[in-house]
Amino acid sequence: MVKKLVILKDITKTYQTGKVSYQVLKGINLEVEKGEFLAIMGASGSGKTTLLNIIGLLDKPTSGSYILDGEEVSKLSKQELAYIRNRKLGFIFQAFHLIPWATALENVLMPLLYRKEGISKKDEERAKKLLERLGLGDRIKAKPAELSGGQQQRVAIARALIGKPKLLLADEPTGNLDSKSSEEVIKIFRELNQEGITIIMVTHDPEIAKYAKRIKIIKDGNFIEK
């Protein structure tokens, strides 16, 4: 049993635009244990989203090593990364990123479509239960456009959970929501964490970050110690 879910060592990320290169991350070191609820805070442009994308395998670090669930992942192929994203990670984005022509239920089931087994009846029942639990039991047939921001984000949370991920990654999950919906969403996060799901959340809002068990602040591409 691996205790540390995420181990980042000297992670750097440099963006190259023409001849100008810009180092966003400057040697990040981070360890996240199972069952943690970590908030990464920082001003815009501090590199917090880039860091989350690297943790979420949506972006590759320029250098450094990344061990996810006991496996070095910084050198894996696209195929293998897709597999890990599908099985081990759950994403929640600021702008929800739901597929506009699919219903709430179909959106939730989407990650399972990319598994060899496809979607079973059991999965469908589980998705319905998830939506019910998140208060959307009567909206499973609704398209994203017919849902409020808070409801859309809850569909996205259900989608992130359907694959039974080890790690939930949230990028400004309350950024597009009013304060009431924000509170609902963050409470869901708390509940999920209490059930044992590890969460890494990026936010610039201290009100939201205070719900996390641990807060790290990033500035100019590196963590600052409190």
Partner: protein, 404 residues
């Protein structure tokens, strides 16, 4: 596992109908080009078939030949004397062992009148074997026989449209005036399909001897229709007949022929060359339309998927492999091509049937052309859906997700 394919199909279908306008235009452009190409090709083919059938119908199949008096081009004014083809020539040709039948014809146009109706009508002086030579038999009454020929009888067999043209009721036994002589109608020929400008059903046939002596006052004939034994080498036959005629007409050295030998090949070539040029012209147009529609599809498909690249990135983020993305858009282009192919197929059949209903052309549907145009359409949709989707999977999803 098998449900997975249905689930993928459902996923693709939902995406496809989410932009109905786009889908409509993609299908429309494909359908138009498919329909145009197939209809045009079919009509061209059908016109050619029609001519071949018509030729076969008048016994101008592959074992036949026609000799016309006067040298020169097949159609047009002759460039030599045209009074040199004689009955003797026909008799000489008949002696050849590969010749089955020889039917000489004397031609002329005379004023024909019946009860105050007068028309210029093509008169043909023929032998009794004309019916066999042209596969054309009387519908009622009888054809000219040997006795008519011997006695220079003033009898005639009329084409199917003649009684109507002159308003003759119960034509058999009635007398019709040709130039200044009265001829008794002894038969009416069955109706024959006509092509070109000449209505074959508006002709009058009289004994060859009567035509030469009583009507046209000429000792030469205008044409000889020859039927060969099955399996005759037409080229060899043509060569031998030409030698006989040149010798009999005393033509030596570089003196040009004063007759024309028309083989079925030449007739087909002549009658089909016009339709062939038209077919090529129309085919070119429809090929251009196919290419244009290809460009349109290319644009629509490319823009459509380019626009969707953030969605592709999202799918990748959720765990879709590049293969799955490619399968997704492959299935999508196949669906579009399949729908368009189906509509194009039905539409071209409908158009062909409609044209066949109003014109003598037969509806001929060419699967080869259809499959050719369909595969072209499929290829364009596939290529131009795969390029942008593959491109989208190459980029780090985090970059594309920003624009979602």
């Amino acid at each position: 596992m098998k449900f997975l394919y249905i689930q993928i199909l459902k996923d693709v279908w939902k995406e496809l109908i989410s932009n109905k306008v786009n889908l409509f235009f993609m299908i429309l452009s494909l359908v138009i080009s498919l329909t145009a190409l197939n209809t045009i090709y079919s009509l061209g083919y059908s016109a050619k078939e029609q001519i071949l059938n018509a030729l076969a119908n008048v016994q101008f199949g592959k074992d036949a030949m026609l000799i016309l008096a006067g040298g020169g081009k097949i159609i047009g004014l002759t460039t030599t004397r045209r009074d040199t083809l004689k009955l003797g020539d026909a008799k000489e040709i008949e002696k050849l062992d590969f010749v089955k039948l020889v039917s000489p014809i004397s031609l002329g146009t005379s004023e024909v009148s019946y009860k105050g109706n007068a028309e210029m009508i093509r008169i043909e002086g023929v032998f009794p074997n004309y019916t066999i030579a042209t596969n054309w038999y009387p519908k009622t009454g009888r054809f000219i026989n040997k006795n008519d020929l011997k006695r220079l009888s003033k009898v005639c067999v009329v084409g199917f449209d003649i009684p109507k043209k002159f308003g003759i009721k119960d034509p058999i036994g009635k007398k019709i005036k040709i130039r200044s002589e009265y001829f008794e109608i002894i038969g009416i020929l069955e109706s024959k399909p006509t092509f070109g400008h000449f209505n074959r059903n508006e002709r009058i046939f009289i004994p060859l001897t009567t035509a030469q002596r009583r009507l046209f006052n000429k000792d030469y004939i205008d044409a000889i229709k020859i039927l060969f034994q099955p399996g005759t080498n037409i080229d060899l036959a043509k060569y031998k007949i030409r030698q006989i005629l040149r010798k009999r007409h005393k033509l030596y050295g570089i003196e040009p022929d004063d007759f024309r030998i028309i083989t079925p090949d030449m007739a087909i070539k002549f009658f089909t060359s016009a339709s062939k040029i038209l077919t090529i012209f129309l085919l070119t147009i429809s090929l251009i339309s196919l290419i244009i529609s290809g460009v349109i599809i290319m644009n629509l498909m490319y823009a459509n998927i380019e626009e969707k690249s953030p969605i592709i990135a999202l799918r990748v983020a959720l765990g879709a492999t590049s293969q799955r993305i490619i399968i997704h858009y492959l299935v999508m282009s196949l669906i579009i091509a399949f729908i368009s192919g189906l509509i194009g197929w039905i539409l071209s059949l409908l158009i062909l049937k409609t044209i066949a209903y109003f014109t003598p052309l037969k509806a001929y549907f060419s699967w080869l052309t259809f499959l050719f145009s369909l595969s072209f359409a499929i290829l364009t949709t596939i290529v131009f859906s795969l390029i942008p989707s593959v491109k989208a999977t190459q980029v780090e999803p985090s970059i594309l997700l920003k624009s979602l």
